[in-house]
Symmetry: C2
Subunit: 210 residues, 2 copies
């Protein structure tokens, strides 16, 4: 595999694990030494991570790890509420039983594996949502949704401890599929909105508690 991609993944993971603390200042050289790759590779990975919001280039002040605020969580929630139901609605007319089945398989993969790490569970979780949205066939909308998900996934290190909402999440996913099968699009969108709000609330509760 490409070293650039390896480092990119590794950096994301290490940020999620809070190995690099928020607002820590990183330099290309540091990282090149630490991960034992050339600075070119580091530069490529950094630019990508900056574009995706994991890092922030404060110009001369160096590169900082983006930190997390309640305000940001609320903003991301607002944007997801604005775009995800839209995607679901547009996708609805293209959702057939085959696709819904694929989505259910992803849910099964989560439930059947009690050993999954928070990261793997988070990935599958998004794959589930994404599989449904995908059928809207709107590349730009999907791109924005992917970006928003990236932002949210930055918090996943925090969520690992506060796993309390995992069960309600699974239930809501099942309900969503049921509604879509029945063709109750509006109800599905409403449920989705609640789902997003619930997840955000759990996260905010955790953030404010610590």
């Amino acid at each position: 595999m490409l070293k650039k991609q390896q480092l990119y993944q590794q950096l994301k993971r290490d940020i999620q694990l809070q190995h690099w603390q928020p607002s820590a200042v990183l330099t290309q050289q540091q990282l090149a030494e630490y991960y034992n790759v050339s600075r070119i590779v580091v530069r490529d990975a950094l630019q990508q991570l900056i574009n995706e919001g994991w890092l922030q280039s404060h110009g001369k002040a160096g590169i900082k790890v983006s930190n997390f605020t309640v305000a940001e969580a609320n903003e991301l929630c607002l944007l997801r509420l604005q775009l995800e139901p839209l995607a679901l609605q547009l996708a609805a007319e293209n959702l057939n039983f085959s696709i819904l089945g694929q989505a259910e398989d992803l849910l099964a993969a989560i439930d059947n594996n009690t050993q999954l790490s928070a990261f793997e569970r988070g990935d599958l979780n998004w794959q589930f949502h994404r599989r449904l949205y995908q059928e809207c066939h709107k590349p730009h909308l999907l791109r924005l949704l992917d970006q928003l998900h990236q932002q949210v996934s930055r918090y996943i290190g925090y969520q690992e401890q506060s796993m309390c909402y995992a069960n309600t999440s699974a239930t809501e996913h099942r309900q969503l599929i049921t509604l879509l099968r029945a063709g109750s699009i509006d109800a599905a969108c409403t449920l989705l909105r609640e789902h997003i709000t619930t997840a955000t609330d759990a996260l905010i509760q955790y953030l404010t508690k610590t």
Copy 2:
């Protein structure tokens, strides 16, 4: 200035001017020779342009210039309709006379300079909208709006010839300011929606005509 940024700007401009035709296949080496810089610089600029949707990496098939479709124009319109009025609404409570004045100055800069190129006019146009949206103080929302604008600005080469809607645009801008001054937020949002739709229609009309 940084060479990377120079090349980045130049490439965007050349794509807008259709110097590099849509779906043309570019290579790093070609571009490095053509623009007389090292491949490192080209790589950096390309990655950024790929992230912003100007180019598409087809893996082994090389890098292609994104082309334009009516479907894409419609999708971008849909997303703008979803997010721009939201930003305006959120910004509304923070808009004071000073900020509205600054926005009007930008409009004046457009009107007073009949010599402006389509690019410069497009820039100022966006600066006007952006100045208003900015007051929503939602970094992620603003980031998404910037991205959407980037996508739209890719078409500007096409718009240059079809300048017909410039006048109505200027009028709508004035009305928008007036409504905001009067505190008629909802009316302003409605007008904004019409504004976006009008601009998109003009573009689509041009795209389908040729």
